[in-house]
């Protein structure tokens, strides 16, 4: 089959690879219908996540059709259209039982790296480095899904692939950001980053009753998309974000600050230059500009909810602000299994629509071009989504 592989820093290519097989009795094989790029893939492309190897198949956000199931799969059936959570849960460990799916004890066969880096290993993720389990990703014609009964969710008939694909990651991750922030009526929420996850965090916050959501980015089309959801917007290249947030919140600061940027935060001024230099010299692994800003901006006693992917060490972390302002700092890779059934149900009733995120439907063969557009934010690209069934050069549905 064809698959889009990481071949080196800032290099991907479409290769002919073996078809996946059932390797464990609870596996399923899924024929991929649509597989989206994700902002977190850029950390792999840019070489900031170690333990990638040339030949690794990328992709973790996808919808597809079940074509084969292992002998111990009880609920999934061949022919079902399913959204698969990007995070792989086992369903049997203490963490999965608590709904903390991304903390799963059993789905990372390569726990050594994360145990050394973070003290403990967390769940496996499709197509996201050997440290995250070494699972082949979904930018392929077929993908193997372990523990299929708990990780694959049937998609209701009325939900288009263009929405269902984002129920795999962007929507539940955004939803979790608002949920971890315990957003409620009357809250003012600020969201750093208007990519797919940030857009969905803004949407979820409004649905949870937030009175105002302020979305922060620098790309006009992304700010316009957030405005269409109902958020106010700030362009951080035009206004001082900390000043503007104080003004917009009567000096208090936002009640909940959601960071949806992660380790390659962009910004302006000396702090940004400092972070770029330290990351380039490998003196810090993660650029923490937007995280620091979220902590500084957050109102006293508020919550900072971290969705952006961080790998290891952020320099100049404002612990004094966290402690003295009595902040609650929360974060996680998405516990998607908690939210996906509810999200698919809302989609089927037309109450939420994630399909506007899909700005660039492409064939799998056009994968390298898709990543180039996405990385450079060219042509208004918010998400490029690959369709293995579509011929190169033709536009996917």
């Amino acid at each position: 089959m064809k698959a889009l592989c990481w071949t080196g820093v800032n290099e991907v290519s479409v290769e002919e690879v073996p078809d996946p097989a059932i390797l464990n009795r609870q596996d399923a094989v899924i024929k991929v219908i649509a597989s989206s790029v994700c902002g977190s893939d850029l950390h792999l492309l840019d070489g900031y996540v170690p333990t990638m190897a040339a030949g690794d198949v990328l992709g973790h956000e996808f919808v597809g059709e079940v074509v084969e199931v292992g002998p111990d799969v009880r609920e999934r059936r061949v022919g079902e259209r399913v959204t698969v959570c990007s995070i792989i849960g086992c369903g049997g460990c203490h963490y999965c039982k608590q709904g903390l799916w991304s903390l799963c004890d059993n789905t990372n066969p390569n726990p050594g790296f994360l145990e050394k880096l973070n003290g403990h290993a967390t769940a496996g993720i499709f197509g996201y480095s050997h440290a995250m389990g070494g699972f082949a990703g979904s930018h392929a014609e077929y993908v193997r899904v372990p523990y299929a009964d708990v990780n694959a969710f049937p998609v209701p008939d009325g939900v288009p692939d263009a929405g269902a694909v984002f129920a795999s990651d962007a929507v539940p991750t955004g939803w979790m950001g608002a949920d971890l922030g315990e957003v409620g009526p009357g809250d003012v929420v600020a969201v750093w980053g208007c990519g797919g996850v940030g857009q969905m965090a803004a949407l979820a916050s409004l649905r949870m009753g937030a009175e105002r959501v302020i979305a922060i980015d620098r790309f006009p089309e992304r700010l316009a998309m957030a405005a269409a959801v109902g958020a106010e917007t700030l362009d951080y290249e035009r206004v001082d974000v900390l000043d503007a947030l104080k003004e917009l919140t009567g000096g208090r600061g936002p009640d909940v600050c959601i960071e949806a940027v992660g380790m390659e935060s962009h910004g302006t001024g000396a702090q940004y230059a400092y972070d770029r230099a330290k990351q380039a010299l490998r003196l810090e692994t993660d650029r923490g500009l937007s995280l620091r800003q979220a902590i500084h901006a957050c109102r006293k006693g508020g919550t900072v909810s971290v969705l952006g992917v961080f790998l290891g060490l952020v320099d100049k972390f404002p612990m004094g602000a966290v402690m003295n302002k009595g902040l609650t700092l929360r974060g996680a890779q998405q516990h998607g299994h908690r939210y996906i059934p509810m999200i698919l149900d809302l989609m089927s009733r037309g109450e939420i629509d994630a399909s506007p995120l899909l700005t660039h439907p492409l064939s799998l063969e056009d994968g390298p071009k898709g990543y180039e557009l996405f990385k450079r934010k060219e042509d208004g690209c918010v998400r490029a989504v690959f369709h293995p069934d579509v011929r190169p050069g033709t536009e996917a549905p």
């Binding site: 592989c5 071949t7 690879v17 009795r25 190897a53 390569n110 070494g134 699972f135 082949a136």
Partner: protein, 114 residues
């Protein structure tokens, strides 16, 4: 300085421990899983109830890399019915360096520190 150097390396525990969502009685009686019985032939084991109803704590003395993998596999089988594998998945062209260094790399990411 000598004191600092001496104190910089505190003694490491010789036990490797995991928590398993299983009743201690299942892991200690005559019907305990065969893999656990085999492990007990080679290593000193300590099985105690985990607090808060979280199952059992299995501690293994002097567990090397192979044994740590084995303990994780026992935990997985007890909790999920199978030990997850990734060998045999699709992969693209591996470089010469990738092919040569693959086994050592895999061992490093798999076994981890004590």
């Amino acid at each position: 300085m000598a004191r600092l150097a001496r104190e910089a390396k505190p003694e490491e525990t010789t036990w490797y421990a995991v928590t398993v969502r299983a009743d201690p009685a299942e892991l200690t009686g005559p019907d305990r899983p065969a893999a656990l019985a085999l492990l007990a032939e080679r290593h000193e084991l300590r099985i105690t109830p985990a607090p808060g109803g979280r199952g059992s704590e299995i501690a293994v003395r002097d567990a090397g890399g192979d044994t740590r993998e084995e303990v994780r596999a026992i935990k997985q089988v007890l909790e999920t019915g199978e030990a997850l594998v990734v060998e045999g998945q699709p992969e693209g062209h591996r470089t010469l360096l990738g092919r040569a260094g693959g086994p050592a790399f895999r061992q490093l990411t798999r076994r981890g520190p004590r």
